[in-house]
Amino acid sequence: MSDNKKLAFLEYKSDQNVRWCPGCGDHAILNSLQKTMAELKIPNDQIAVISGIGCSSRLPYYMSTYGFHTIHGRASAIASGVKLANPKLSVWQITGDGDALAIGGNHFIHVIRRNIDINIILFNNQIYGLTKGQYSPTSKRGFISKTSPFGTIEYPFRPGELTIGARGYFFARTIDKEIKLSVEVMKAASKHKGTSIVEVLQNCVIYNDNTHREITDKKFKDDRTIVLEHGKPMIFGKNRNKGLVLDGTRLKVVTIGEGGITENDILVHDAHCEDPTIHLKLADMEYPEFPVALGVIRDAEAPVYDQCFIEQMDKIKKESKIKSFRDLVTSGDVWEVK
């Protein structure tokens, strides 16, 4: 059995050859997703993986679940239809930064606002991979690409900020090659009822290599990121001696043991807090001023659309006098011709 457990993720692999470039971060994300499903033991016939268009959106073909590779930007809407048609399914949406935040921006904010129980894995490589290297809505200001040879003159979206701005209740961040962390946050996303957004910092080796390197590289990752855990103090750093405190209304990085700061002064992460103020600050932290937040940043409860949808329908079905098509068409102003 123990052998089996390790290999259980293989049950979620399809027989298709994976076509991503060697070294692409997508391989590891696929791996994490399959491991998550294996650990959660969701039967693969109960899973639907829905994607838009992009390198990342090829993922459903590599899963042995139900899958639908749809059109650019619309996966949130299609996944919403799948979930409402069959609420028992575990529905996952795979999307890229262009797919979700450019062409699909409208659907992205609305699925979050409605809080439909879908797990959205957002592959953020800050580039359009499939179309070979144009800047995306998450590319840094000034970014040079084939369509911005002189640097972009626009600010990027921050997916966490957008999620919270759209009234999201679950946001987590991970790094493609950090499989253990990815599995943890994907599991949390799956367990969360409502729309879950998991941003994965993904490396596109071909068109945007090392875009996240200054924070993801092993050499300095520990000092430049912080892995948040609910109920635990926000401590990070290779020597676990740095932490976050609130200074007025702003977050501030402090060193434990310096200036009288002790572990007790460090903020404790409350992912379940309904008020998103601190979550937003955490999600927005950027290097070098701050460490970049990883793990589950926000995981709060709210009414879930698909559940309310069913509850409302059950209630109306009980209360209404109209029980059949016949009842409907013969109700109201009818007359008989003899």
């Binding site: 016939d45 639907a48 809407a77 919403s80 098509f325 009818v334 008989e336």
Partner: protein, 615 residues
């Protein structure tokens, strides 16, 4: 009661109620049409809403109308021009002059013909009758506002409520004009205002006052009598096209055992379908008001993928947004019905007006070789049948279907004989029945060429589909050039074969006619009426009206070939005529086109046909 009054016996009559948007003309019109239907006349109605929600009071752009055509024999249209006009203010008079028959009866609320209202309507003098040369009309100048106030003076109602009852005075007068038992209207009013007893009472009082005014003036005013029509026994109700479409889908869901899912975004004149189905949670309908039309169709496609009957409703601008997703449904071979209730275009065009100019968009408005089924309803009540059959084809052939309606059908009503559900066939979803290990995702039914439907959640049938070209058997992504061509032809052939499952094209009128009239969709009533009137005059004419457009009925070519002169009539610049030319290049087609945002009139059609016959 003095019996000297003159009663005119008529076959059919057109009444138009017209007033300011706040005057309650829609309610008045629908009460009158309902009581005419109960009385046993055949009816057809059409509302004419102002384009702006709150146009300035008393102006022509604020005029709201409702036309009722009723008769002793079948009526197919709301009528070209009115025999009776009720004009609640000068603007209503001015707006409708073009739509009156010679010598028509005009009922005016003289109280509203003051200087202010006359000026707002654009009259230069204070005598519109003189100014518009209305001497030859039969004008009833009724002091409607004064009399309404008078009859309600002791009820303690506020001014607003009193003025709101004016329409009932006009209705009472019209009831008298057509010898209708006032009890019918009274009953309807009490039902309508069941929760506001005082208002109901006020309305009934004013109604009676209006009726009595008729009795008083009868010596000088002729009235009409229209005998009931021969109508097939059954239970009836009035139904407009939008509601009929919504209900057709409900029956399709029942007959297929599928749950109905509508993804939609509000747009005139299709919104009512969304509203109607939103209220049907009691019947298990899942309705999703999406953030836009792209999301609307996408949710419907997702729902179909997951095993529901996915549908989406819209008008022309919305169909434009749905184009890419429609292509996905073509590729994924899933059931989907898209309803396009056409309005005047292009762009925002004439949102509240009718047109048939989305045909090209429905047929061709997608990238790639992207065939799908296109159908069109042709009367308000047969919207029910075509919605049902659109769903049946979508499900059984695993294909998107575009169902075309239009603003005229959507808002027009006719009596609907409530059908027995058993008259409608079962719908059999082509669920996969091979064992999971012997099943291929794009394996096809040999007859219909549909692929089989495996519903997510079913153990063993996990599969992946998408918009990339598929291998013709396994459904896996394939870039093979031979396979692509094969699939392109297969998708076309699948749609072509739908022709084996639809009824043949019918020819109405003379089978050996000199002129064949060809139409499609919402113009049927006008074309048929023109045909029948020409036949009565001894002309040899026939009508072939299309409800199935892609594919065409199999006998289409044979029908067209039989006639020497053919005229294709449509409310666009000739889209269907050109489509027929592309299919049957050797058939010579004339065209009659009108793009005014209005239906044809029977009069203009007859004129045109007579000219062709004389050629």
């Amino acid at each position: 009661m003095a019996k000297k009054s003159k009663v005119i016996e008529k076959e059919e009559v057109v009444v138009r109620f017209s007033g300011d948007s706040g005057d309650g003309m829609q309610l008045t019109g629908s009460l009158f049409s309902f009581s005419s239907a109960i009385y046993g006349n055949d009816i057809s109605t059409f509302p004419d809403f102002p384009a702006e929600i709150r146009a300035p009071q008393g102006t022509i752009s604020g005029v709201s109308g409702f036309q009722v055509h009723f008769g002793h024999s079948e009526v197919y249209t709301p009528g070209d021009k009115a025999d009776v006009l009720v004009a609640m203010n000068p603007a209503a008079l001015k707006a409708n002059l073009e739509w009156l028959k010679p010598g028509a009866t005009i009922i005016l609320d003289v109280d509203s013909f003051d200087d202010k209202n006359l000026a707002r309507a654009g009259y230069k003098s204070n005598d519109p009758i003189e100014e518009d040369n209305l001497g030859s009309y039969n004008i009833i100048k009724a002091p409607i506002t004064t009399m309404t106030r008078e009859s309600l003076k002791d009820m303690g109602l506020d001014n607003k409520s009193i003025l709101r009852s004016k329409n009932m005075y006009a209705l009472g007068l019209v009831f008298w004009l057509f010898h209708r038992p006032i009890k019918d209207a009274e009953h309807l009013i009490r039902e309508k205002f069941a929760k506001k007893e005082k208002i109901a009472e006020a309305n009934v009082r004013v109604l009676e006052a209006g009726y009595n005014y008729g009795v008083i003036i009868q010596a000088v005013t002729p009235s009409y009598h229209i005998s009931p029509a021969e109508i097939k026994p059954g239970i009836y109700r009035n139904l407009n096209g939008n509601r009929a479409i919504a209900w057709g889908f409900l029956l399709a869901a029942q007959k297929s055992g599928l749950e109905l899912f509508l993804g939609s975004y509000p747009i005139t004149p299709a919104t009512e379908i969304l509203q109607e189905l939103s209220a049907r949670k009691d019947l298990g309908v899942k309705v999703f008001q999406a953030e836009d039309e792209i999301a609307a169709i996408s949710t419907a496609i997702g729902a179909s993928f997951a095993g529901n009957l996915g549908i989406t409703s819209t008008s022309g601008p919305g169909l434009a947004l749905k184009g890419e997703a429609l292509g996905l449904a073509v590729m994924a071979e899933l059931p989907l019905v898209v309803v396009d209730v056409q309005r005047g275009g292009p762009s925002t065009g004439l949102p509240t007006k009718t047109e048939q100019a989305d045909l090209n968009q429905a047929l061709y408005g997608r990238n790639g070789e992207s065939p799908l089924v296109v159908m069109a309803a042709s009367s308000p009540v047969n919207c029910f049948d075509y919605a049902f059959y659109a769903a049946k084809i979508a499900i059984e052939h695993m294909t998107p279907v575009i169902l075309l309606s239009d603003g005229f059908l959507a808002n027009g009503t006719q009596p609907w004989r409530i059908p027995d559900e058993d008259q409608f066939p079962d719908i059999n979803p082509p669920y996969v029945n091979n064992p999971a290990n012997q099943w291929n995702v794009y394996e096809r039914d040999p007859e219909r060429l549909n692929r089989y439907w495996a519903i997510p959640g079913t153990p063993g049938y996990q599969h992946r589909i998408g918009g990339l070209e598929k291998d013709y058997l396994t459904g896996e992504v394939s870039y093979d050039h031979h396979n692509h061509f094969k699939m392109v032809k297969m998708r076309q052939e699948k749609i072509d074969r739908v022709a084996d499952f639809i009824p043949p094209l019918e020819v109405h009128g003379d089978q050996d006619a000199e002129l064949l009239i060809v139409g499609w969709g919402g113009t049927f009533g006008h074309l048929l009426t023109a045909l029948e009137e020409l036949q009565k005059e001894g002309k040899k004419v026939a009508l072939a009206h299309f409800n199935y457009i892609n594919p065409l009925p199999k006998n289409s070519y044979d029908v067209l070939k039989r006639f020497r002169k053919i005229v294709v009539c449509e409310l666009n610049m000739g889209q269907f005529a050109n489509y027929l030319r592309s299919k049957f290049p050797d058939v010579l087609l004339r065209q009659y086109n009108k793009v005014e945002g209005l239906p044809f009139t029977v009069g203009e059609l007859k004129n045109h046909f007579e000219k062709i016959l004389e050629e």
